[in-house]
C-alpha cells in the first residue's frame, strides 16, 4: 500500500494541512515557522512528487471516493497520468519553496505582518492546488479552485498596509472569480448534457458541435483568465509582484500550471472532440500572449513585475503548443499532435522550474539588498555568487538556449509547427509558420530581456548604496534555488528520459504516446523520425563542456596571474556607476520600434539642466481598450439596476405582491 500513488497524494495533502495548522503557533514562537512549518511544506511537496512519479510510471488509473461532500454527490478523486504529471510539477516547486522559506522568512520576523497567516494560508494554498489536480467531479474541483483562489488572495494581500497592494489583490480576486464563474458555467453545461456532476459522466456526454464549442470557449475563457492569457492578463503583473517572493514563485510557477491543467482536463479529457477552428483560436491567442507578454516585460524595470509579464509570455508558448496539438489532432495527424502536446507539457514543467527559480532569486535580492528596482541594482554577482550562478542558469533556461531545458521545449514546439506541410488546407499551412515566426521573435526578445536583467542587476557596478552593501543570503535560500537550477540542467541534458516518463500522459488522454521520440536510444531525441529531425542533447552538453575544459587546460597557466586595469573611457574622467547603461536605456531601441503597441509617456521634468529628471511611463493598452470599457459598461448597467432600490417600502411590497401572483399563476 505504501507504493500506491493515492497514498502518497493523501500524505501530501495531509502534510500540507498539518503545516497550515502548525503555523498557528508561530505567533508566539516565530521559529516554528522556520523549523516546523517549512519542512512540513517541503515534505508535502516531496510526497506529491512521489505520487506523481508513481502515477506516471504505473500508468494505472487510481480512483477513490472520499467520505466528504454532499450525500448524493460525494467527492471523487482520480490519479491518472495527467494528474500525476501536474502533481509532480506542483510538488517539485513546493519542495524547493519549502527549502527556501526558512531563510527568507527570517527577514519577516519581528515585522508588522502576521506570520501565522502566511504559514497557514500557504499550506491551505498547496492543499487547494493538490485537490484541484486530483478532483474527479465538478463539485470538488470548484471547492478546491475556490480554496486556491481565496488563500492566494490572502497571501497576495499579506503586506496589507500599502493601498496599492490592496488594490492589486482586489483586482486579482475579482478576476479570479469571473474566471471561476465561467468554469462553473462550463461544468454546468457538461453536467447537463452528461447527466451528472462527476467527470466520468461528463466524459460520456454526447456533445453537438455547437455545445462542444460553447464548452470549449467557456473553458478557454475561464482557465485562460486564471492562466494569464492576453487580454485577460491584467491581474498577473499587479498581483505577483506584491506577494512575498516565495509565494510569487508558487503562484507563477504552480498556480498558472493548475489553470493549464484545468484547460487540458476539460478540452482534451472531458469534451473529447477536436475541431480545427478551436486550434486556430488557441494558436492565435497563444502567439499574441507570448509576443505581448515579452514586449511588456522588456519595458519594465521592476524585477518582479518583469518576471510576472514573462509568465504571460510563457503561458502563451504553452498554449501555442496546445493549439498546435488541437489543430493537428482535429485534422487526423495524431503523431504530430502528440508531439505538440508533449512540447506543451514539457514547457509546463520547464516554466515552473525556471520561473520558480527566478522568483526565488528575486526574493534573494530583495532579502539581501531590499531592492526591487533594476535601476538601483548592479554588481550583485560579487556580493551573492551562488545566487548569481543560479539566477544565470534561470536566465539562460528561460531564454531557450541550449543545453538547458527551455531550449528542448521550444525545439519540440518548432518541430511540431514545421510539420505543417502535412496539413491539407493552404491557409492553415501559411498560418502555422507565421505563428512559429512570432514564437521565434518572442524567444529572441526574451533573450534580450534577460541579458538586460542579468547585466543590469548582477554585472557591472552597483548603482545604489544598499546594493553595494548586499550580504549573501542564508544557506536555505541557496539550497532552494540550487535544487531548481540542477533540475533545469537535468531536463535540458536528458530530454529522452523525461519524455519517456511523460509519454504516459498522451497515452492516457489521446490513446497513443510518442514512442519514436526515444526509439533511437537515450542519446537522440527524434520526435517525428530520425530523418526529419534529431537533437542529441547530452552530446551537445558534453562537447561544450569538453571545449571549455580544453580551453581552460590550454590556457590554465595564465589564470591566476591576470592583472587588472582601468576600462577604456574614451578620454573622459573616471567612469562612475551612473555612466552604465540603465535598464530603460537597454530596452530603448526595442521600445522605439514596438512603441505603437504601448502607451508611452516620456519627458524631461525640471528647468535647470543639471536638475532635470527623465520620466518614462509605459502602460498597458489593454486597460484603455478592454478593461475600462467593460468596467464602464458594468457601472452603467448597475446604475440601471439601482433604480429598483427606490427605498420606498410600499414599492418593495408591490414587488413582493407581483412575484407572489406570478408564482401562484405558474404553479396553477
Amino acid at each position: 500500500m505504501a507504493t500506491h500513488p493515492l497514498w502518497w497524494a493523501g500524505a501530501a495533502i495531509g502534510l500540507a494541512l498539518l503545516s497550515s495548522l502548525v503555523s498557528l503557533f508561530s505567533a508566539r514562537q516565530p521559529g516554528v515557522l522556520r523549523w516546523l512549518v517549512s519542512p512540513l511544506f517541503a515534505l508535502a511537496g516531496l510526497s506529491a512528487v512521489a505520487a506523481g512519479l508513481l502515477a506516471l510510471i504505473d500508468k494505472d488509473v487510481a480512483t477513490a471516493t472520499l467520505p466528504l461532500g454532499l450525500p448524493w454527490l460525494p467527492w471523487q478523486v482520480r490519479l491518472d497520468a495527467l494528474a500525476g504529471f501536474f502533481l509532480a510539477v506542483v510538488g517539485t516547486i513546493s519542495f524547493a519553496v519549502g527549502l527556501y522559506a526558512p531563510g527568507y522568512l527570517r527577514g519577516f520576523e519581528g515585522g508588522d505582518d502576521s506570520l501565522p497567516a502566511l504559514g497557514g494560508f500557504a499550506g491551505l494554498f498547496l492543499t487547494g492546488m493538490l485537490l484541484v489536480v486530483l478532483a474527479d467531479d465538478a463539485f470538488l474541483f470548484m471547492v478546491a479552485w475556490e480554496l486556491m483562489s481565496l488563500t492566494s488572495y490572502f497571501l497576495v494581500v499579506w503586506h496589507h498596509d500599502h493601498a496599492a497592494n490592496r488594490r492589486a489583490a482586489f483586482l486579482y480576486l475579482l478576476m479570479a472569480h469571473v474566471g471561476a464563474l465561467s468554469i462553473l458555467l462550463d461544468f454546468g453545461v457538461l453536467a447537463a448534457l452528461g447527466h451528472g456532476f462527476s467527470f466520468s459522466a461528463m466524459r460520456d456526454a454526447e456533445l453537438s458541435f455547437g455545445w462542444a464549442t460553447a464548452t470549449f470557449l467557456l473553458a478557454f475563457f475561464g482557465f485562460g483568465m486564471k492562466a494569464g492569457l492576453v487580454p485577460l492578463h491584467a491581474w498577473l503583473p499587479e498581483a505577483h509582484p506584491v506577494a512575498p517572493s516565495h509565494i510569487s514563485a508558487l503562484m507563477s510557477g504552480v498556480m498558472l500550471k493548475v489553470a493549464v491543467y484545468g484547460f487540458i482536463r476539460v478540452v482534451f479529457g472531458l469534451i473529447g472532440q477536436f475541431h480545427w477552428q478551436w486550434g486556430v483560436v488557441v494558436l492565435v491567442i497563444g502567439s499574441i500572449s507570448a509576443l505581448m507578454g515579452v514586449l511588456y516585460a522588456l519595458m519594465q524595470h521592476d524585477l518582479k513585475r518583469l518576471l510576472a509579464y514573462h509568465s504571460v509570455e510563457n503561458i502563451g508558448i504553452i498554449f501555442i503548443g496546445l493549439g498546435l496539438a488541437i489543430l493537428f489532432l482535429s485534422t487526423g495527424h495524431a503523431v504530430i499532435g502528440t508531439v505538440a502536446f508533449i512540447a506543451a507539457l514539457y514547457h509546463t514543467i520547464n516554466h515552473a522550474l525556471f520561473k520558480g527559480l527566478l522568483f526565488l532569486g528575486a526574493g534573494a535580492i530583495l532579502h539581501a539588498a531590499k531592492e526591487r528596482d533594476l535601476e538601483k541594482m548592479g554588481g550583485l554577482l560579487r556580493r551573492m555568487p551562488w545566487t548569481g550562478l543560479f539566477f544565470l542558469i534561470g536566465c539562460i533556461s528561460i531564454s531557450a538556449l541550449p543545453p538547458f531545458n527551455g531550449f528542448v521545449s521550444e525545439w519540440l514546439t518548432f518541430q511540431a509547427a514545421l510539420q505543417a506541410w502535412q496539413l491539407d488546407s493552404g491557409v492553415l499551412r501559411s498560418i502555422v509558420p507565421i505563428a512559429a515566426a512570432m514564437l521565434a521573435l518572442t524567444g529572441a526578445l526574451a533573450a534580450a530581456c534577460f541579458v538586460k536583467v542579468y547585466g543590469v542587476a548582477f554585472l557591472g557596478q552597483a548603482r545604489s548604496r544598499p546594493v553595494r552593501r548586499a550580504r549573501p543570503v542564508p544557506l536555505s535560500m541557496r539550497l532552494g534555488q540550487g535544487v531548481l537550477a540542477a533540475l533545469c540542467l537535468l531536463l535540458g541534458i536528458l530530454p529522452t528520459f523525461f519524455i519517456s516518463l511523460l509519454n504516459a500522459v498522451p497515452e492516457g488522454l489521446l490513446g497513443h504516446g510518442l514512442q519514436q521520440a526515444t526509439s533511437h536510444g537515450w542519446l537522440w531525441l527524434t520526435p517525428v523520425s530520425a530523418q526529419t529531425a534529431s537533437y542529441g542533447a547530452p552530446l551537445v552538453a558534453i562537447i561544450l563542456l569538453l571545449v571549455l575544459v580544453a580551453g581552460l587546460w590550454l590556457f590554465g597557466r595564465g589564470i591566476r596571474r591576470v592583472r587588472r586595469c582601468d576600462t577604456w573611457d574614451c578620454g573622459f574622467s573616471q567612469p562612475s556607476s551612473r555612466m552604465q547603461y540603465t535598464a530603460s536605456a537597454f530596452a530603448q531601441p526595442i521600445r522605439r520600434v514596438f512603441g505603437l503597441l504601448f502607451h508611452i509617456e516620456e519627458g524631461l521634468e525640471g528647468s535647470q539642466p543639471d536638475q532635470q529628471r527623465y520620466r518614462l511611463k509605459v502602460s498597458d493598452r489593454a486597460w484603455g481598450l478592454f478593461y475600462l470599457p467593460v468596467a464602464r459598461l458594468v457601472e452603467r448597467a448597475t446604475r440601471q439596476v439601482v433604480r429598483l432600490q427606490s427605498g420606498n417600502i410600499r414599492i418593495y411590497l408591490g414587488w413582493t405582491l407581483g412575484t407572489l401572483l406570478l408564482l401562484i399563476w405558474i404553479t396553477v
Binding site: V427, S430, L596
Partner: protein, 227 residues
Amino acid sequence: MSLEQLPLLQQLMLVLAAVVMFTSFVLLEQARLVAAIHAFAWQGVLVAMVTALVAAGSGLEHLFFSAALTLALKALLIPWMLHRLVRRLELDRHREPLRRPALVIMAALALVIFSYWVVTPLVAEELLFTRNIVAVSLAVVLTGLLMMVIRTQAVAQVLGFMSMENGLFLAAVSDTDGMPLAVELGVAFDVLVAMILFGVFFFQIRESIDSLDVDRMNRLTERVDES
C-alpha cells in the same frame, strides 16, 4: 505532380510570377516616387517576359506581338511619361513614407493569403499550375487597389491603378493563353489615353488646390467648411 516534373518554361513562368508579386510589394512600400515608377517599369518587363514565354510555349504568334506591345507601353512609354510628369510637377525629390509600414505589409500578406484561398476551389486538373499563377495575379490586383487606398499622392495612385491592370493582364495571359489581338490593342490604347488624361488633370488639380495630395480634395464636398 511536383515542381520538378513541370516543363522548364512553366517553371520559369512560376518564378517570374513570384517576382511580379514581389514588385507589387515594393511598389506598395516605396517612399520615393521615382523609385516607385522604376519598380512599375520592372513589373511591366516581367509581365512582358511571361507573355513571351507563353507565346514560345503555345506557339501563338500574336502573343509575341502582345509581349512587345506590353514592353513598349508598360515598361517604356508610360514610365517615361510619368517620369516627365513628375519632373514637371517638381515632385522628383518628394518622399512619402508609409505611416504604419508594418500594418500595411501585414494587410498585403493577408490579401495574398486571401487570394490563394479564394482561387483554390477553382479546379481545372491540367491547369493546376496556372491556377496558382491566377492566385498571384489576383494578389497583384488587390495589392494595387490597396496601394490606391493607402497612398495620398495622386501619381502614386495612378501607379496603383496601372499595377492592377498588370495583374489582370498576367491572369489573362497565363490562364487563357492570351486575349484576342483586337481586345489587346483596345485595352492598350485605353490605357494610353488614360495616361494622357491623367497628365492633363494633374495640372488642373494642382492649380485649383495647390497640391497633389488626394486628401486635400476633401474640400470639394458640399459641406459648408469653416476653414
